[in-house]
């Protein structure tokens, strides 16, 4: 079976534990090479984070477990890349013109 190389998630999480702790825990998982977490919305007690993970062989269940253990919920899986290399989505005529 093909290996998952990149996952982009939309996550709702409490302010504590901070994204510093969460990113450190995610980067400790087997098969993870890089983690990026950016906050795009802040509420009184919670915040919305975009979590990007890249690696040689990502295990989604492990990722979800770490996020859940830190009080977060995955709202949506926004992008997944699998296979021998990482590709970005191809440009089409339907894409908004910059």
């Amino acid at each position: 079976m093909g290996k998952i190389r990149r996952i982009v998630l939309d996550v709702l999480k409490p302010h504590d534990p901070t994204i510093i702790e969460v990113s450190a825990q995610l980067s400790d998982l087997a098969g993870v090479e890089a983690v990026n977490i950016s906050i795009y919305e802040i509420d009184l007690r919670v915040e919305n984070a975009k979590i990007t993970l890249e690696g040689s062989d990502l295990d989604y269940d492990d990722v979800e477990r770490v996020i859940g253990d830190n009080g977060g919920t995955v709202h949506s899986i926004d992008e997944v890349v699998a296979g021998r290399s990482i590709i970005d989505d191809a440009a089409t005529l339907q894409d908004p013109q910059g």
């Binding site: 999480k13 409490p14 504590d16 534990p17 919670v46 859940g68 009080g71």
Partner: protein, 205 residues
């Protein structure tokens, strides 16, 4: 990493989530202060009532300390667990998930445990420290010296406590220590006044 270090590491992680250290420190200072002042009151009462048997002072002092410990433990457990539960419930309303089995839930339970233990042990240890001279009154050459030594220990402990708080708040350590000692002296003066009033009313009656 040994099991003890692992537990310490876990406690450190929980501290980051649940701010255990700050609350425990507050409870520690508040209840040690309570413990010392209560025992100063007990000792002043014993001294003014003419108690000259170390075992009586130790028994009354220890009974008071143990009561304070139980009260601290129980009170802190009930209030802290209620507050923590409320805070977790509020957070759950925002995340719309059950957080009890997450790191936040575990940190919250650990906080209740640590804070209750600190709240119970602080007055117990502080008052035992002040009572120490009565355990060795035969070495000090009489119970009167135990009373004086206890007073010195109590004032030093109060000063130490004040200095500790002064260091946390980055104030003058000496002034902060003295403020605590003033409270101790006040407790003694009030005990003396009560004894004096009771003494007059007994003579009058």
């Amino acid at each position: 990493m040994g099991p003890f270090q692992r537990e310490l590491q876990r406690l450190k992680e929980y501290d980051e989530v649940a701010d255990i250290g700050e609350i425990a420190r507050r409870y520690f200072a508040m209840n040690s202060f309570d413990g010392i002042l209560t025992i100063v009151g007990v000792l002043a009462g014993n001294y003014l009532a003419g108690v000259r048997t170390p075992s009586v002072v130790i028994t009354t002092g220890m009974a008071t300390s143990v009561s304070m410990a139980v009260s601290g433990l129980w009170g802190a457990y009930l209030t802290e667990s209620a507050e923590r539960q409320r805070s977790l419930d509020e957070l759950e309303n925002h995340t719309l998930t059950d957080l009890s089995q997450t790191r936040i839930g575990r940190a919250s339970r650990a906080a209740v445990f640590v804070v209750s233990a600190v709240d119970g042990l602080a007055p117990l240890l502080a008052s035992f420290l002040v009572l120490t001279p009565f355990f060795v009154s035969h070495l000090l050459g009489g119970i009167l010296y135990s009373y004086y030594a206890s007073l010195v220990v109590a004032m030093l402990a109060l000063f130490g406590m004040g200095a500790f708080l002064g260091r946390i708040s980055k104030q003058n350590v000496f002034v902060a220590g003295l403020k605590m000692v003033v409270a101790g002296v006040m407790a003694l003066l009030l005990s003396y006044l009560i004894e004096h009033t009771v003494g007059i009313s007994e003579t009058g009656g």
